[in-house]
């Protein structure tokens, strides 16, 4: 999809909200597969709301879309989604969701080469590419129902093994449910299940 130094190209003309791309399609298909009728579903970092909308259109589920970016919130609402402006999962109650899905910003970024706008925030995963993955994995167990699961998009640019070890430390077992290779990266969708009695 994009080399890290292609960030400028990847931004394109859109400067406010990340628009659906190959990674969105991969995450949407894995999420739709994981959701059952009657589930409560949260998309963290929904961007344009495209993934959340795919789930709502194909499943009888309640879908909530969250984003930190006010422009993204507005686009997601324009798709008819229920939207909350939120920092990751912080304003959601314990045990609220059967499925939480997240395509985090993951392109590793040189701190001297940042744009400091909303699109930057949507793409940049900081120096490691894991700027938001770590706090997300630490907190997501709290909002997840005991039989719930997390779908997380991971790129080879951010080191899947490190992400899996952070997930294990947060009390999750992981399984790759999608894999797709591009010239400069491989994308996976990891499905995370809470293990053991204490996952909160």
């Amino acid at each position: 999809m994009a080399r890290p130094d292609d960030l400028a190209e990847r931004r394109g003309l859109e400067t406010d909200v990340y628009q659906p791309a190959e990674d969105s399609a991969l995450l949407a298909s894995a999420t739709v597969e994981a959701v059952e009728a009657g589930d409560a579903v949260l998309e963290v970092g929904t961007g344009s709301g495209w993934v959340a909308a795919q789930v709502r259109e194909t499943r009888e589920a309640r879908v909530i879309a969250a984003d930190v970016n006010p422009h993204a919130c507005r686009q997601a609402r324009d798709r008819g989604l229920e939207v909350v402006r939120a920092d990751l999962v912080s304003p959601f109650r314990t045990d609220s969701f059967d499925v939480v899905t997240f395509n985090p910003p993951y392109l590793p970024t040189d701190p001297d080469n940042e744009w400091d706008d909303w699109m930057e925030a949507a793409l940049s995963g900081g120096e490691t590419g894991r700027r938001l993955v770590e706090p997300f994995l630490e907190e997501v167990g709290r909002v997840l129902a005991s039989s719930g699961c997390v779908l997380l998009l991971v790129s080879s640019l951010t080191d899947r093994e490190v992400v899996e070890s952070i997930a294990a430390d947060a009390g999750f077992e992981t399984e790759a449910v999608r894999e797709e290779s591009y010239p400069f990266e491989t994308l996976w969708v990891l499905r995370l299940f809470p293990v053991g009695p204490d996952t909160s």
């Binding site: 930190v68 229920e82 939207v83 909350v84 402006r85 920092d87 912080s90 109650r93 609220s96 400091d116």
Partner: protein, 64 residues
């Protein structure tokens, strides 16, 4: 936001329940109003149907 959203929302800081104040609504949803934490009294605005539940230290932070 739909009123039923309140069932899954909490204060992002202390996870306490929120109290809804409605200024403008349709039959289906609340367009303008606020959510107030029953524990710390922090007020979270609802604008154009979207509740802003960013923690206070992030709320005023805008991208350049």
């Amino acid at each position: 936001m739909k009123e039923s959203l309140l069932d899954i929302l909490c204060c992002p800081v202390d996870k306490a329940d929120l109290e809804l104040d409605v200024e403008d609504r349709t039959d289906e949803e609340i367009l303008e109003g606020s959510l107030t934490c029953t524990e710390c009294d922090e007020v979270y605005p609802i604008e154009d149907g979207i509740p802003n539940l960013l923690p206070p230290d992030m709320r005023d932070e805008a991208a350049a």
